[in-house]
């Protein structure tokens, strides 16, 4: 496995909040909302999820765009299968 792929996997699975966010967007891929509202949907505050959202945006899993004064976060639905596969493989190899 390449070093960059390993980094992606480690990054995806590095915190509970990321896991919660991935599950939220996997189950409800049509969420287009502000950081604060997304946080509320997993029972957290925006400051709690900020760093994890940033990581997921850097990984290209979540997308961000400005909408007037607000910034919204949404899911790259095309990557959902790929992410599921990564997590599944990781669980199969006993790393999760």
């Amino acid at each position: 496995m390449s070093a960059s792929r390993n980094t992606t996997i480690e990054s995806l699975l590095s915190s509970d909040i990321k896991a919660d966010l991935l599950l939220l967007y996997h189950n409800s891929p049509g969420i287009i909302d502000t950081m604060d509202s997304v946080a509320r949907r997993i029972g957290r505050t925006s400051s709690e999820i900020e760093a994890d959202v940033k990581d997921l945006v850097n990984l290209g899993v979540l997308l961000k765009r400005s909408l007037g004064k607000s910034e919204v976060i949404y899911y790259d639905q095309k990557r959902d299968n790929e992410i599921q596969q990564i997590i599944l493989n990781r669980l199969r190899t006993g790393g999760g």
């Binding site: 909302d33 004064k69 919204v72």
Partner: protein, 259 residues
């Protein structure tokens, strides 16, 4: 002749004399549990499966996974039609849908993606919570006009707080004036059981069935039955049997002491 957007619920289309006017906005008003969301979903699913018209469902409160699940129990595979780019389920905050965005609207992207002809906003009452008193009607009007500009036949749900009983106004902020069609769903108590009634209150530019009809939520969605012909006062939530000619004759006979 005006082009109609059929709901695909045959009895409702009959009541609407063929369906909603294409590109118009309809409002479904009812208290919690009356079936507003199901009616909205059925309108979109029928659009895709029966009429080849794509649709967007916008939800503010209910998470999409519960909508997928509930739709699945009615035999509607929303994930499948979403994968086929015929449907989008958008979950967002009401204020984001109302904000000015330098020419970019939150719904522009999903509209570009699937080129829908139908949209459901569930619900307008959530929008009202985010808008200053006195500006609700203006903001709701702006939203309706945006949907009209996109040539979408829209259906907006509105939750009334009153479960049964007399109502003085359909919506609290007077938003019902901005839509072209109003369908009212109500719980009614008949002979100690709760039943549901549907009535088309308004259909701008067209005749429509004015009778109240009973409806049920079945395993295949909403099924509309016959009009409530034997009762009156249905909209009050506590109907009573109508004084039919036969009833009047029976009472007259009883009072006159005739058998």
């Amino acid at each position: 002749m005006m082009t109609r957007t059929r709901t695909g619920i045959s009895e409702l289309d009959e009541m609407l004399r063929g369906g909603f006017m294409k590109g118009d906005s309809a409002m479904v008003v009812g208290s919690t549990g009356t079936g507003k969301t199901i009616l909205g979903l059925q309108y979109l699913v029928n659009g895709v499966t029966k009429f080849g018209e794509n649709g967007i469902f916008v939800t503010f409160e209910q998470l999409p996974d519960t909508i997928y699940r509930d739709a699945n129990s009615l035999g509607w595979d929303l994930r499948k039609i979403e994968r086929e780019d015929k449907f989008r389920l958008v979950c967002t905050s009401p204020d984001l849908l109302l904000e000015a965005h330098d020419g970019e609207h939150l719904l522009d992207e999903p509209i570009r993606q699937i080129r829908p002809q139908r949209i459901v906003i569930d619900s307008l009452s959530h929008l009202e919570m985010y808008v200053k008193e006195g500006e609700v009607r203006k903001e709701a009007y702006r939203l309706v006009m945006y949907l009209r500009a996109k040539e979408l036949s829209s259906l907006l749900t509105y939750e009334s707080h009153q479960l049964t009983g007399e109502t003085t106004a359909l919506t609290e902020k007077g938003s019902s004036f901005i839509v072209d069609c109003i369908i009212c769903l109500r719980f009614v108590e008949i002979e100690s059981s709760m039943r549901k009634a549907l009535v088309v209150l308004k259909l701008r530019g067209s005749d429509h069935d004015k009778r109240l009809r009973e409806f049920e939520i079945t395993s295949e969605g909403i099924k509309i039955g016959a009009p409530f012909s034997r009762y009156e006062g249905i909209m009050s939530g506590a109907p009573r049997k109508s004084w039919t000619e036969e009833t009047v004759r029976s009472w007259t006979r009883a009072f006159e002491g005739k058998p």
